[in-house]
């Protein structure tokens, strides 16, 4: 956890409303684990006021990558940055996906829906490096919503794509595609990030198939560091079902601890 005020945008690419940033931020890059996030300052002035949380899309010794969809003012401003522009990041924050050494040889299903693919790339790379077998699911509404197909391919990671409108890959919801695969192969673990509705269905699928699963939750975040109590989600704890800060205890939680709204 550092505040890196000397981060610098190295490269920016986009497909439609989706943007990919490569950022020089060595300290954060070295510490980062899949499923963690950074808080990005998008403007100097008070508009918008707060930082924006973005998952770490990939990380290495030189820095991190981010992948986001323009959702409003903050991401819009971010999308207009130019290579060489300074960035102000806090991270890596939160607890990522559980990836342990003992998982070698096991099989993981990883599911990314829309912009939720962001942390899945880093996770997939990490799982591969640790010798897991992975099935990566990437779903979007239309073809333009799954722009990272090439990137996974170049990294030698095979994808199972779906589009709601059938314009590419499996035609239908990504959850249906996962359901079909689950009927064929039972993985040892399932990881997912995407719209809450998608994750909720995956959670019940995973429960039905008795597959341990982890989900990366989203919420409006005031601080990202556990100070504002803004980012809460209902999570089962030892002490009951409380409003739990997802920036601190999450954003990744085991499926069985999440109480979906």
């Amino acid at each position: 956890m550092t505040i890196d005020r000397n981060a610098r945008l190295r490269e920016i690419r986009n497909w439609d409303d989706y943007f990919h940033l490569a950022i020089d931020a060595p300290e954060i890059g070295r510490e980062a684990r899949p499923g963690q996030f950074v808080m990005v300052k998008v403007a100097d002035g008070p508009s918008p006021l707060l930082r924006r949380p973005l998952s770490i899309h990939d990380a290495g010794a030189s820095g991190i990558e981010l992948f986001f969809k323009v959702a409003g003012l903050g991401t819009e401003i971010l999308s207009r940055k130019k290579p060489g522009d300074p960035l102000d990041l806090i991270g890596p924050l939160g607890k990522g996906f559980t990836v342990t050494n003992g998982m070698k040889g096991k099989r993981a299903f990883c599911v990314g829906g829309g912009r939720g693919i962001a942390p899945i790339y880093f996770l997939a790379r990490e799982l591969g490096a640790r010798g897991l077998q992975t099935n990566i699911f990437y779903g979007g509404r239309r073809l333009v919503d799954i722009p990272l197909r090439d990137k996974f391919e170049k990294a030698g990671i095979e994808l199972l794509c779906s589009t709601d409108n059938g314009s590419f890959g499996f035609g239908g919801l990504v959850t249906e595609l996962v359901g079909l695969e689950l009927a064929k192969t039972k993985p040892d673990v399932l990881y997912a990030c995407g719209p809450e509705a998608m994750m909720k269905v995956l959670a019940s699928l995973a429960a039905k198939h008795r597959v341990p699963a982890e989900f990366s939750l989203e919420s409006v975040m005031g601080c990202g560091i556990g100070a504002c109590w803004g980012c809460v989600h209902r999570i089962k704890n030892e002490s009951g079902d409380g409003w739990t800060k997802i920036c601190e205890e999450g954003p990744v939680f085991p499926g069985e601890r999440i109480l979906w709204p």
């Binding site: 550092t2 006021l49 919420s219 409006v220 556990g226 100070a227 109590w229």
Partner: protein
């Protein structure tokens, strides 16, 4: 002879409490302090006010609890918290070792609960003062709280002051017609200091769903948007009461903080800015110091209340 950098005396004496400098982190925006240890040296602050504490643990409001507005933030956390017992057992021991003023923001659903909190905490060591939060707009319907009337303010402050062995800072609400009247009621009831402002009762709507953006409908507005109103209130109160005033509302920089001091605040609290820059409070201390240096001010207390009104 070497030229030595003149060091500025930042110490701040509230009478009942001496602070290293006039910058406190505001309640509800600084967790229990410890959350900020990765980002700043807590001992470089004047002190910090921990999150509002009820007697029992509290759930808080359902999310969404936050919404951004133009230069502002509306929150409806609803004072989620761990209660006095867990605070005293799990948190306070860690805070006690810090050489900085730890102030506890005291809450209550009714007067008895406020009294119970203070009674419990009075038995604990390591607390510099209480900040009586009679002004949280997020708990009762439509922002109702004791700080909205001079009568309820007077009664509660009087009772808590009598019940407590520690100095009492009373934190006022800006959602009132006459902030001076409320401040005077708190002063008469014996408060040792007055803190203001808490957040402004506000709301935001999602046009597409036609629903309030906060699950709680109403919330409290903080941040730069409110600074001009907060500064006005601090000035009005500081020129009318004898007890020290702790000013806050939208402070983002040392210059902002100095404006509150010039307007009459003996110290300031910084809130929302901690979310944006977790190290903001120490930056603000440093900016105050530099400004004093650059302006030949030997001690920051010399600045307090020096506003010139034509």
């Amino acid at each position: 002879m070497a030229i030595t950098k003149k060091s500025v005396d930042l110490t701040t004496d509230l009478g009942f409490l001496k602070l290293r400098n006039p910058v406190l982190a505001a309640s509800g925006t600084f967790g229990y302090g410890l959350e900020f240890e990765p980002y700043l040296d807590l001992e470089k602050l004047g002190g910090f006010v921990v999150k509002g504490l009820y007697y029992e643990p509290r759930e808080g409001n359902p999310p969404p609890r936050l919404v951004e507005t133009a230069s502002g933030l509306i929150n409806a956390i609803g004072l989620q918290g761990i209660g006095v017992e867990a605070f005293s057992e799990k948190v306070l021991p860690k805070l006690r070792r810090l050489k900085t003023a730890v102030i506890v923001n005291v809450c209550g659903a009714d007067d008895d609960e406020y009294a119970a909190v203070v009674e419990y905490l009075d038995k604990q060591e390591g607390i510099a003062a209480y900040e009586l939060n009679i002004s949280c707009p997020n708990v009762k319907a439509e922002g109702l709280c004791p700080a909205l009337s001079p009568r309820t303010t007077f009664d509660l402050v009087k009772r808590i002051k009598a019940a407590s062995r520690r100095p009492l800072i009373t934190k006022l609400s800006p959602n009132v017609t006459s902030i001076v009247e409320i401040a005077k009621a708190a002063e008469e009831a014996g408060t040792d200091a007055i803190a203001l402002v808490n957040t402004f009762l506000a709301m935001a709507l999602d046009l597409e769903t036609r629903r309030p953006k906060l699950r709680n409908v109403f919330g409290g507005l903080s941040g730069p948007a409110i600074k001009p109103i907060a500064l006005r209130m601090v000035y009005q109160v500081a020129s009318r009461v004898r007890v020290p005033v702790i000013g806050m509302g939208g402070i983002m920089t040392g210059a902002d903080a100095l404006e509150f001091l010039v307007a009459g605040a003996a110290a300031v609290e910084v809130g929302t800015v901690n979310f944006i820059d977790p190290d903001a409070a120490v930056r603000i201390v440093a900016e105050i110091e530099s400004w004093c240096e650059a302006h030949g001010v030997a001690a920051v207390r010399e600045v307090v209340g020096t506003i010139k009104v034509f």
